[in-house]
Point group: C2
Chain length 667, copies 2
C-alpha cells in the first residue's frame, strides 16, 4: 500500500525534507564532469586546474582578504562557526537587500521578524523535536562523535578509489550503498558499519551502534529551568504560527506571501565542507499561501518564457542529464505541478543569475518521489555547481496544507481561510465518523490521538482508507503524535460523503515555500566570480572576484596617482561625494604603484577604480576588461552611481566618454 | 583606598555596566514632569491624557496593526519575546539601513557578522560567565522566580504612594532604598526584604534569600556535551576577538571603527515593560579603536556646533536638570572627556533626530562615578523619554583598553597596535618584577593567576600599589580570574621605572563604544510619532503615526477613488512604477470611502497617498497636514521618490504643483 508506506517513512516528514535541503547533495544521477565547475566566461581562466586546487585558491583569497574568518580564531575557533569579515559582510548585506527588493517589495510580501529562541511546544508541533536528527556513532574509547553515514560514505569511496583487488560484485555493492545512503535506517547503517569493520578514523577504536542525535541547540527559557526551548532550526515556523494575524492583515484575502530573513541553528555532529555546512546560518524564507483549488499566478506570464537547466524526476531516474527547458512548457506538460510553483522557480532563477551565479552551473532539480514528503505536491531545488559538487541552495516546495494543519492541531487555534459564496451552495462533504467505543477498547489511553489523526485525514487519504477497509477489513495507519503505525479495523470508523448546503468554504491554505540558504548562495557566488589572470610582467597570477556591481562589497576605489596634496584633496572631495551618494568605496593613498593598488582592489572584487591623475579630470577603470575612460571630476560620481544602481552600464559609459590613451597601468 | 575598592566593586565590571545599559533606567535625579512625554508639535494632540492611557493607546494601535505580535501567540506566548509584524519589520529594516548609511558608510567602518552561539571561553574572558547576573528570589512554596530588586522597588513605591500613616523618617528611608537600589548587594537586598516582610506577590509565600542568576541562555556545542556555550549577550565580543585581523585589514593603522548588527540574548528573570525589556533583541554596536594618546577626531568640527540636552555628572549630583549645552563647549570645558567620544555623541544625536525622535525628549546623561567601570574614561547614555520614563537607548563609552587586554590575557594572542618611530626613542618603562618564590608560598596553585594579574597592571594601578606597599607594607589586590581579593606583600613584587631605547611603541588601543538598542529606539520612536486627531465628523479619535518618510514602513498608498476598471488600471500602472523605483507601497481597491482608507493608512504611518480620480492626473495627499496637490500620472512616482529619498520635500512639491481644489476627503 503505497500511501501508508509513504506516510510511515521518516524521510518523508517535513523536518527531514527540510533537513535535506541544507545538506550538500549526495551524488545524484548524471553528475556533470568535474571540470565543468571551472568553466567561466572570463579571460585567462585556466580550465585545467582541478577542483581541490581551485577551491584552495578561492579559500586562501577569501580568508586572506577577510571575506570570512573562522569564528573565535584567537581561541582556536569552533568547528562550523564562521564570521563574515568586512567584504563578506558587505556582500551578504547586498544579497539580502536585493532579496528584499526582488521578492518582498516586488510581490508586496508581509515580512516578519521572529525570535530565534523558540519554546519546545512549537517545534514539537512542527516535528523537529522528534525527527530533526542525524544518526551518530561514538568512538567507544574516547567518546568522539561521528556521523554514521559520513563514515560509511568515506569507507565506500576510499575502497572504490584505492582497492584495486576488489571484485566487480563488491564494487557494485559499495556503489549501491552510496546511492541509498540517505535512506538507510539506524539498524541498516549499523549493520554495514559492523560488516565492513569500520572503526573510529583517528583511534581505530570500535564504534557504538548508530543512534539519533537531535540537531537543535537546546536551552532553557526563564530562570525556573521548567520551560525547555531551542534555537530555531529554520525561520518558517515563525510565519506559520502567525498565519491567522497575517491573513487578517491582508484583508482576509488569499493568495499572499509572508517572508522572513534570520538566523537559524543546527548543532552539526561533525561539520565539514567549510562554509557549506555550518552550525549557524542565515535563511531567507517565503511562505506563499494559496487556495489549494487555485494555484494560478497573475504574474506567471512574466516568467513563462524563461529557459534554463531543469532536471525533472523522470530524467533523473532514467539516467539522462539536466536539459534546457522552457518554464511554460514544463507547466503545460505537467512537469512542474502548478503556475505558482513555476512562478517562484522563475523568480529564483532571475534572482540567482542577477547576483552573478553562472546560469550554466545552475539547475533546478525535482525531488524524487522518495525524497519528497507524502503531503508535498511538488518540490524543486535550485542547485548550484561548485567545487564540492551540486549544492542545494534554494528549495522551492509546494508543501500543501501540512504545516498549518500541524499547528492548528497542536494549538487548538484554527489556521484556515474563508471563501464566502455569493449564494449558498450544495456541497458534497467528507464525513469521518469515529466509533469511540471500539477505538477506546483497542487503544485505551491513546484513543484521543488516534481519533484526532483519523479526523484530520484529507479526502484522498480517507477515501484510500475506506477502500482498504472495504477490501481487507483493516488498514495500517500512521499516527504522528504516537510516532507509530496502528491497525484500524472496519468497525472503528465510517467514512462517507454527504450533501450539505454551505454559505462559505472554510479551508486550510496550501503553502508554497521558497527557502534560501543565504550563506550557501554566497559561497557559490564566490567560486563563480573567482578567476586568476597573469600580471603584466607575467611572473605571477593575480586573483580577481568578478562580482556584478549589485553585490560587490565595495563599489569603487579612489587612488591619487602619486602622493601629492592637490591629488589627495581631489580624492577626498570625490570620496565625500561618493558617501553622500551612498556608494561604498575605499581610498588608497599608500605609495604603492597604481598597478599594485589595482591588483589589491581586483582581489576584493571592486568593479571600478577612480585614479586621480589631474585636478580637473580622472581615469575610471573597469575591473574585468581593464578598460579606462576619462571623465571630469564633477561627473565621475554620478557615472559610477548610475552603473552601480543598474540605471546604466559600463558600455554606455564607454560610449559617452573618451578612452584613456596611456598604456594600462595594471600590474 | 579608592582605587582598590573600585576594582573590587562588581558594579564596575564591564558586564554590569553593559547590563545596566539595557535596563530601563531607574528613577534618576530630576526626572522631568510626566506630562512632558506627551508634548508633541502635531495637531490636536491632547496633552492631558496621562502616561498609562497614552501607552495603552499606542500599544493597542501597534498590536492591532501588527507592528509587533507577542511571539508564539497561538501557544499563549512566551514572556519577553516579540515578533515584528509587517509594518514593524519594515520600520526596523529602515532604521538599520539608515544606521549603516549614517555610521558604517560615512566612517568607512569595518562591519563584521559573527555567530550568536559563543563558546564559554570567550564569555569567561569578557567576564559574562562570572558576572552577568541579576539577583533572584524564589517563592519557597511554588518555586516561581522574581527579581529581588523589582520586589523591593515595588514595595517601596507602593508604600510611598498608599501608606498615608507612614512617618517622614520611614518615607525618607524608603526613598533612599530606591535611590541606591542598583548598588545593593545580595545580602543587603535580602536584609531589606526580610525587614519589610516582603512575600511572593501571588501566593504571599515566604521568599528565599537573593542569589545571582546568570542571564545568558546556556547551550552545548557539538554532540559530545563537553563544549559549553551561550547565546551571546552582546555583539561586541565578536569584534574584539577579531581585532588583530581587522587592524591588519585596515593597513595596520589607527584609528578605525568596526561595527556589527545582530541578535543578542538575555534570559530575563521576569520580563516587564513590554518591548523595552525582552529576552532577544537586536543590537548595533561600534567599536572605534584609537591611540590612547590621541583621541582627537578629524571630523570633530562637523559636530562641535551642535546644541542639545546634556546632563553631566555634576548637574545630576547637585540636583539640577539637564540643560542645552553646545557640544564643542562640553569638550573644551572638560565635561566630555575627548573629541572622539564627543564626535560619536554628536553623530548619535543626528541619527536619532533624523529617525524622528523628538529632540526635546532626548538627553545625553553622563554616568555617575559609581555607575562607571574603573577602567572607563567617560560614559554617556542617550536617554529617550517615553511613557516608561527616561530610557537608555544608546550607550557611548570610552572603555579604554579593558576588553582587548582581557582577551589578550585569556587567549595568549597579543591584541596590540604599533607605532614605528622615525628614529629610536629613549623611553621610561614600567617594570613589574614578581618574586615567584614568595608568591608561590603564599598562593600555591593560584600563583600563576596572581602573577599574570600583577603583570597586567597598567601604570596608574602599578604606581598606586607601589605607594601602598611602601607606606603600609601590603596591599589588597583584586584578581579577576580568582574572582576575589588577595593580599600582596612588599616582598612579592618590585615595581620600578627604567629607561630604554625603543624603535616603536607597542600599545593596546583604547576603544570608544557606541552601542545601540535598536528595539528600544524603535519603541520610543513609536511613542514619539503617535498622535490622535478628531475625525471630520468629530465623533471619533483617529490614530496617526507621524513617521518621517525615511523610516515609514510603507512610503505611499494608492487608491482608485471609486471602483472602476480605468482607475484600477491607472492604479496598477502607478504601483508598477513604484516597485521599479524601489518604493514600498500598498494598494487599497476596497470599496471603503476614501476617508476611511486615508484613516487606515494614517494609522500605519504612511506619509503619502495617491488617489486616482482621473486617468491623466492624480491627487497626492500628505499625512500630517492632509494637504493635497494635483500631479500628472507620469510625474507622481518621481515626486514621491524624491521626497522619500530625501532629495526634495513636501514643501517643494506644494510649490511646484497646484493644490487640489475640492474639499478634503478625510474621514
Amino acid at each position: 500500500m503505497r500511501f501508508f508506506r509513504t506516510v510511515i517513512s521518516p524521510s518523508n516528514l517535513r523536518v527531514l525534507s527540510r533537513c535535506r535541503l541544507f545538506n550538500a547533495s549526495s551524488p545524484k544521477p548524471q553528475e556533470s564532469a568535474a571540470t565543468h565547475v571551472l568553466r567561466r566566461n572570463v579571460p585567462s581562466m585556466n580550465v585545467a586546474v582541478n577542483r581541490e586546487a581551485f577551491r584552495q585558491a578561492v579559500a586562501n583569497t577569501l580568508e586572506r582578504r577577510l571575506f570570512y574568518i573562522p569564528s573565535f580564531k584567537i581561541y582556536r575557533g569552533v568547528a562550523g562557526l564562521y564570521d563574515y569579515g568586512p567584504p563578506g559582510c558587505a556582500v551578504k548585506a547586498n544579497v539580502l537587500a536585493f532579496w528584499r527588493q526582488h521578492f518582498v517589495l516586488e510581490e508586496n510580501m508581509l515580512e516578519v521578524d521572529c525570535p530565534c529562541v523558540t519554546p519546545e511546544v512549537v517545534l514539537k508541533a512542527s516535528g523537529h523535536v522528534d525527527k530533526f536528527t542525524d544518526l551518530m556513532v561514538k568512538d567507544e574509547k574516547t567518546g568522539t562523535c561521528y556521523r554514521a553515514d559520513h563514515l560509511l560514505k568515506d569507507f565506500c569511496n576510499e575502497k572504490l578509489q584505492n582497492d584495486l583487488s576488489m571484485t566487480a560484485d563488491k564494487a557494485a555493492e559499495l556503489r549501491h550503498v552510496l546511492a541509498v545512503l540517505d535512506d538507510l535506517s539506524a539498524e541498516e547503517l549499523g549493520a554495514r558499519i559492523k560488516e565492513y569493520g569500520i572503526t573510529a578514523p583517528e583511534t581505530k577504536s570500535p564504534l557504538s551502534d548508530p543512534y539519533p542525535f537531535n540537531l537543535m541547540f537546546q536551552t532553557s527559557i526563564g530562570p525556573s529551568g521548567l520551560i525547555p526551548g531551542y534555537m530555531r532550526p529554520e525561520t518558517a515556523q515563525g510565519i506559520f504560527v502567525n498565519f491567522k494575524d497575517l491573513y487578517y492583515y491582508n484583508g482576509s484575502k488569499l493568495p499572499f506571501g509572508a517572508a522572513q530573513i534570520g538566523q537559524a541553528f543546527r548543532n552539526e555532529i561533525s561539520p565539514r565542507q567549510g562554509l557549506l555546512r555550518v552550525r549557524e546560518f542565515t535563511l531567507a524564507e517565503i511562505e506563499h499561501f494559496v487556495d489549494p483549488e487555485d494555484k494560478s499566478h497573475p504574474k506567471y506570464s512574466e516568467v513563462a518564457d524563461l529557459e534554463f537547466l531543469m532536471f525533472p524526476r523522470e530524467e533523473q531516474t532514467s539516467g539522462q542529464s539536466a536539459s534546457t527547458i522552457q518554464l511554460g512548457e514544463a507547466v503545460s506538460t505537467g512537469i512542474v505541478n502548478n503556475e505558482t510553483l513555476a512562478y517562484f522557480i522563475g523568480r529564483v532563477y532571475l534572482f540567482l543569475t542577477s547576483l552573478g551565479i553562472d546560469k550554466d552551473r545552475l539547475r533546478f532539480r525535482q525531488h524524487l518521489a522518495n525524497e519528497m514528503a507524502h503531503y508535498a505536491a511538488d518540490c524543486w531545488d535550485a542547485e548550484i555547481e561548485c567545487s564540492y559538487g551540486w549544492i542545494e541552495c534554494v528549495g522551492i516546495a509546494d508543501r500543501s496544507a501540512y504545516d498549518l494543519r500541524a499547528h492548528s492541531e497542536k494549538s487548538g487555534v484554527d489556521l484556515v481561510a474563508h471563501e464566502k459564496f455569493s449564494e449558498p451552495r450544495e456541497v458534497e462533504k467528507l464525513v469521518i465518523a469515529t466509533v469511540k467505543k471500539e477505538l477506546g477498547l483497542a487503544f485505551r489511553g491513546n484513543q484521543k490521538m488516534v481519533v484526532e489523526a483519523l479526523e484530520a485525514m484529507d479526502e484522498k487519504e480517507a477515501l484510500e482508507m475506506k477502500a482498504t477497509l472495504e477490501s481487507k477489513g483493516e488498514a495500517e495507519f500512521y499516527v504522528c503524535l504516537l510516532g507509530k503505525n496502528v491497525t484500524i479495523k472496519k468497525n472503528m470508523v465510517t467514512i462517507s460523503k454527504e450533501k450539505k448546503k454551505e454559505h462559505q468554504r472554510v479551508f486550510t491554505p496550501s503553502v508554497i515555500e521558497p527557502s534560501f540558504g543565504i550563506g550557501r548562495i554566497i559561497y557559490c557566488l564566490f567560486e563563480h566570480c573567482f578567476y586568476t589572470r597573469p600580471s603584466k610582467a607575467g611572473d605571477e597570477q593575480l586573483n580577481v572576484f568578478a562580482f556584478p556591481p549589485l553585490v560587490a562589497p565595495i563599489k569603487c576605489s579612489v587612488f591619487p596617482l602619486i602622493q601629492d596634496k592637490k591629488y589627495d584633496a581631489v580624492a577626498k572631495l570625490i570620496s565625500k561625494s561618493l558617501t553622500v551618494a551612498g556608494i561604498s568605496h575605499k581610498i588608497d593613498i599608500s605609495g604603492a604603484t597604481i598597478g599594485k593598488r589595482y591588483a589589491r582592489t581586483d582581489e576584493l572584487g571592486i568593479p571600478f577604480a577612480i585614479t586621480v591623475d589631474s585636478t580637473s579630470s580622472v581615469t575610471l577603470r573597469e575591473r574585468d576588461s581593464k578598460d579606462q575612460i576619462r571623465i571630469n571630476v564633477e561627473e565621475v560620481v554620478s557615472v559610477v552611481k548610475d552603473i552601480t544602481d543598474g540605471q546604466s552600464s559600463w558600455a554606455d559609459a564607454k560610449g559617452r566618454f573618451p578612452a584613456h590613451s596611456s598604456v594600462s597601468a595594471d600590474a
